[in-house]
């Protein structure tokens, strides 16, 4: 079986505390996986380890069965695009230029962007509903608009894998759904492997085929959405009383939090 990403016993420590503790999992090519878990469970750190922004203390991450650290940055950027949580940009670039930067891994150092690149950028901007912003300055537009611009930049990279760190956290419900619909479409039509950290369990349940539930840097469980989204699993991770039911309109599982449980200590 071909895996897009797999990890072999990865561990990450910050000072002496262990953030990610010996994680082993495989992501099949073309799957849509969300990583959920309470605050401080290591979701963002895990994503950064997969994106090669942090290096593992122990263990290795494999992309297409090849060690992450054997890739050149440009090679890696062709395989994998990343949408970070912090999308601030230091000086005022035009939105269009920012998206165009996504073509960098495909260009040699002195190569100019061609018509093909401009076309790809235009498509990426249409898909994310940002084309009308193209002449605006990146720091003049709203946080939600900027988020979509950064997603457009990731799309322009035309990679087979996209990692996203809470891509919907600064968006209103309209654009939350729009972004997730877009990811779903990319996943279905272009077979892009999507791995997203999401805070919102209901959105995770509705859009992803598989869920990885993290707790204190360990994998509590990983599998099909229905298998992971059980009261037992979620109670253990979130220390909450809750009900899980199937939403009559979306047909997706949804969590209704009831009360906070006392932490057992």
């Amino acid at each position: 079986m071909e895996h897009s990403i797999s990890t072999k016993a990865i561990t990450f420590k910050y000072d002496e505390s262990t953030i990610i503790d010996c994680l082993d999992f495989q992501v099949k090519r073309g799957s849509f996986i969300t990583i959920i878990g309470p605050n401080g469970s290591g979701k963002s750190t895990l994503l950064k380890l997969m994106a090669a922004n942090l290096s593992c203390y122990e263990g290795t991450v494999l992309i297409n069965n090849r060690g992450l650290n054997t890739y050149k940055m440009k090679e890696l950027a062709k395989e994998m695009a990343v949408v970070p949580q912090d999308t601030s940009v230091s000086y005022d670039f035009d939105v269009y230029d920012i998206v165009l930067m996504g073509r960098n891994p495909h260009l040699k150092r002195f190569q100019k962007e061609s018509e093909v690149d401009f076309q790809i950028v235009k498509e990426a901007m249409e898909q994310t509903d940002t084309l009308h912003l193209k002449d605006r300055k990146i720091n003049e537009i709203s946080g939600g608009e900027r988020q979509r611009v950064i997603i457009a930049r990731a799309l322009a990279q035309q990679s087979k894998i996209i990692l996203l760190d809470e891509p919907t956290s600064s968006l209103d419900i309209h654009h939350q759904l729009e972004v997730l619909e877009l990811l779903k479409r990319l996943n279905k039509e272009k077979k892009v492997t999507i791995i997203a950290v999401l805070h919102d369990m209901n959105l995770a349940a509705r859009y992803s085929q598989e869920i990885l539930l993290l707790h204190h840097g360990k994998m509590l469980t990983m599998g099909k959405t229905e298998e992971v989204m059980t009261v037992e699993n979620l109670q253990q991770a979130y220390q909450m009383e809750m009900i899980i039911q199937r939403n009559t309109y979306t047909k997706a599982l949804e969590v209704i939090p009831l009360a906070v449980k006392k932490r057992w200590k």
Partner: protein
């Protein structure tokens, strides 16, 4: 990207401006030389057109003043301003910090200390055409840059406040050591003032020869990384995920910046604020794209320093004042303006 800015019209404007400033600078001073004559003398040294220009009715003394005294000094001012501005652009982009510049980063002070040590220990060796003085300046510049960068870095970011604090501390410390060494060895306080505030007094072709090639090569190398500098503005991790070898680029740019600064300082002393003001003005005019920003800042920085130097030698003539006074007079208020503007983000 930025095509509207590279139009021939703008290039024409900037080169006309440059030529005009060179001419104005060449006729300012005690000897009364007309602009026409000065242009003729300068053009006579150019290849191809040079042989067709008739200099017979221009006094020899004027030719000597322009060619041996003013022209090399003007060119040197241009290349120092050019180099320092490009270093400023590169550092501001790399550290995503609007306050970065070779003076504030302490790079210039490090270079000056290195050069002063070599000069006072009478190391006059020349290896492969590179003077030991420049080598020492380079080592000093690298050391200062490295210390300031390590001190100012918070995780992978370099915030404005820590950069200013670290830069001032290290820069002043290096300058103090340098002044001390100079006082005990020469007792000539004036030369210390000129060295720590920068000056082109009595600089000639030999100085230009030392500095011009390293500065040019250095800036070309920085230009090669223009696209990477653009992408780095999105943040280091994002740049990495977009295919930039961040650590490698950072190492190269900081080293080359130290190199350019070292050669600039070893022929002119510490000239502050050029690398700070010019990139900002140019960025306001043409935007942040480094592919245009780097060359434009270089040329504008050169023009600025020619003007500043002309003021420095003519303002209270025949006494020269350090050119650093002029750049600080214009740069100081600008620096305060920048600080006020970026206060909200600190």
């Amino acid at each position: 990207m930025g095509n509207k800015l590279k139009s021939p019209r703008n290039l024409l404007i900037i080169f006309t401006l440059l030529f005009g400033v060179v001419v104005v600078a060449s006729i300012s001073g005690a000897a009364n030389i007309t602009a026409i004559n000065s242009i003729k003398i300068i053009l006579s040294r150019l290849p191809f057109v040079g042989s067709n220009i008739d200099l017979s009715n221009i006094p020899n003394s004027h030719r000597a003043i322009i060619l041996n005294i003013r022209l090399p000094r003007i060119l040197l001012a241009f290349f120092v301003g050019y180099g320092l501005s490009i270093v400023g652009v590169a550092m501001q982009g790399l550290l995503k910090n609007p306050m970065a510049d070779p003076f504030i980063m302490g790079t210039s002070s490090g270079a000056a200390l290195g050069a002063a040590i070599a000069i006072l220990m009478k190391f006059n060796l020349v290896v492969f055409g590179v003077g030991i003085v420049s080598v020492f300046a380079f080592i000093g510049a690298l050391l200062a840059t490295f210390i300031v960068y390590q001190l100012a870095k918070v995780k992978s970011k370099v915030p404005v406040t820590t950069l200013l604090l670290a830069g001032i501390a290290v820069g002043q410390f290096f300058t103090a050591i340098m002044s001390f060494i100079m006082v005990i060895s020469s007792k000539d306080v004036t030369s210390i003032v000129f060295w720590t505030m920068g000056s082109f007094a009595s600089r000639g072709w030999s100085h230009l020869q030392v500095a011009v090639l390293p500065i040019l090569i250095g800036t070309i190398i920085i230009y090669i990384f223009a696209k990477d500098l653009n992408i780095l503005l999105l943040g280091e991790t994002t740049a990495q995920n977009t295919g930039v070898e961040v650590e490698k680029v950072k190492g190269i740019i900081l080293t080359i910046s130290a190199l350019i600064t070292a050669f600039a300082v070893s022929v002119s002393g510490i000239i502050g604020f050029v690398g700070l003001i010019i990139p900002h003005i140019v960025r306001m005019l043409i935007g942040p794209d480094h592919r245009v920003l780097i060359p434009a800042s270089g040329i504008l920085g050169g023009i600025f320093l020619i003007l500043a130097d002309t003021l420095a030698r003519t303002m209270i003539s025949p006494t020269e004042i350090p050119v650093g006074i002029i750049t600080a007079l214009s740069g100081g208020p600008f620096f305060i303006y920048l600080l006020r503007k970026s206060k909200s983000t600190i």
